[in-house]
Symmetry: C2
Subunit: 137 residues, 2 copies
DNA sequence: ACCTTCAAGACCATTTTTATCTTTTTTAGT
DNA sequence: ACTAAAAAAGATAAAAATGGTCTTGAAGGT
């Protein structure tokens, strides 16, 4: 239940790899994909999205690649995960677009809400910098 | 991300409906399905599984149906959810069958582990009896 | 010009979800 | 015994999500 998809897993691994380089370093997509063991074309899609969202910068042409657009300490795990997987919600009824008719009276709703808040808080409390720093290759 | 499926939602709604009846009452599948707005044949599958797992008893033939096999206060939300959705795990790397090679060194792993533990605890702390009692029709 | 690298969009196979349908088995009541 | 009711079990299937690939285009460096 409630599992991160490959896309989410790849996104996290990819951005952590980028965060391990000195800040500002431009890294080839192929290098990240190889190092993090991610299908390159798949990672391309993920990073295209990250660039749009302002997490990373992309540069075309010779010497091109990707670099972090802001310090890794200012990117939370929640931001990364939600960027690819959408809002964290253990049930439809607590999703932002949720049209839960029963929310006022339904106790299960409050349980899902609590699970949601706990997960959000936990992921908010972790930055990519921490993950890049502490994780071994 | 991490959303309960319809099956899980139906399972919870179905067993709560059963728990609202006086303990031991045998209820028709069709009645539960109608009351909880669940496709009957789908609920049948879910309840077959519940019966196998010992949450509910099933009775065939005339006057048959389903009843709780143990008091609703002794069935937790986590048990119900895991029965249909499988173990709670925000990422493969913290799943019971998980073959996470990096678990020793990977910090992300510990984050997912924490999310997992919090969700498990929360769902462990809620019984079907509470949900049946407090929830309005 | 030409090569490199990312962007964008179409495409596609597989798996999961969300069911339905049919047949069989069990049971109660007559 | 017979019959009707009800769940069990298994086959089937449409729709959606997942996990990618491929092609073409655009931008940048040499």
């Amino acid at each position: 239940m409630m599992e991160l998809t490959r896309k989410g897993e790849y996104a996290v691994r990819g951005i952590i790899h980028l965060a391990r380089q000195p800040y500002g370093t431009v890294v080839l997509l192929g290098e990240i994909a190889e190092a993090a063991e991610i299908p390159q074309t798949f990672l391309a899609k993920i990073f295209q999205n990250f660039a749009k969202l302002g997490f990373i910068n992309s540069y075309r042409g010779t010497g091109g690649g990707f670099s972090l657009a802001r310090p890794a300490a200012e990117i939370t795990l929640r931001q990364v995960v939600e960027a690819v997987e959408g809002p964290i919600a253990p049930n439809r009824c607590v999703a932002p677009a949720g049209e839960c008719v029963r929310s006022a009276t339904c106790t299960v709703h409050t349980v899902w809400r609590q699970v949601q808040l706990q997960a959000q808080e936990t992921l908010d409390g972790v930055t990519i910098e921490e993950l890049a720093r502490e994780e071994s290759p």
